[in-house]
Symmetry: C2
DNA sequence: TTCATACCATGAAGGTACTACATCATTACC
DNA sequence: GGTAATGATGTAGTACCTTCATGGTATGAA
């Protein structure tokens, strides 16, 4: 049984995820919570509804994640200026620094991984992976539509 | 903020995983249970201990997964011929067919994805992705060792 | 042969990530 | 100004995972 490129791609995802979980063990952070922080870092303060659709999870689930992140001091809830039903979730100052560092680590890891590729083929590999990701996104979107 | 190749690779993993979950919704199968079946398909009947180390989860967790798979008729527990403590978990006939089909689908998807890559660059992309996966595996192994 | 030790599976208890449904307050619209 | 949509959350439940404790079985040394 040959190892397909898809096997390799999935192996990368699993390795990364597993390693993230290990790295955060004992810090109170988990991968789901880091995803929340990641979105907030990229897009700024937002309501839990917006967070839910950005993360593609139920709003109810976001409430729990924000509860945990608020208890550990990574985010805080502020009243929404125009809508008293909603809350704005925003990063704390320390979380902002943590996430900036994480982003640097992420970029460094990406560079290290690309370093394992033959220099003459790096551009082709980057293009190819992007093409595969785009194709898969299309396939998934089609499958999702076909069911609804 | 540029999109790195690591972002793309992780996007692929997430898309795939999300789509798997959607595809199995309502069948009684989940991604963790499919992973069990996948290992059994590749390596044949084995004890729950072996399954636990192959999946890198606790033996206790395997008990629950096998319980569910046994209840849904995908596997059955057989006594181990040489060790009355252990059980051998093996695929049912129908699960064997299901997994064979899944493997064909998997290969077809891999081919479809590779089809999105420029034909002249496919070999380079396959090599590059494999190199990245291997490098990441080494990095993760090192990090794991550094902590223990 | 027997006794200590290691090992396999599982019970008990608990944490996190998710879901659907119901509820309450607030907003938006006719 | 009343009705309908919307934002957050309570309740209840499932799946996946953990550690610790227990009972049965295997193994190797005294």
């Amino acid at each position: 049984m040959n190892v397909t490129i898809l096997d390799r791609l999935l192996q990368i995802g699993e390795l990364f995820q597993h390693d993230m979980a290990r790295a955060f063990a004992g810090t109170g952070l988990t991968s789901a919570r880091v995803r929340v922080l990641w979105v907030l870092q990229h897009s700024g303060p937002m309501t839990q509804q917006a967070l839910a659709s950005a993360l593609e999870v139920s709003p109810r689930n976001v409430t729990g994640l924000v509860d945990a992140l608020e208890a550990s001091g990574h985010v805080h809830r502020a009243p929404h200026p125009n809508d008293r039903r909603a809350v704005l979730v925003e990063l704390s100052a320390t979380a902002e620094q943590t996430m900036a560092q994480m982003q640097r680590d992420h970029a460094a890891l990406s560079a290290t991984l690309l370093d394992a590729v033959d220099p003459g083929e790096r551009a082709a590999v980057e293009r190819g992976v992007a093409a595969i990701a785009d194709r898969l996104a299309v396939l998934v979107a089609e499958a999702r539509e076909a069911e609804s």
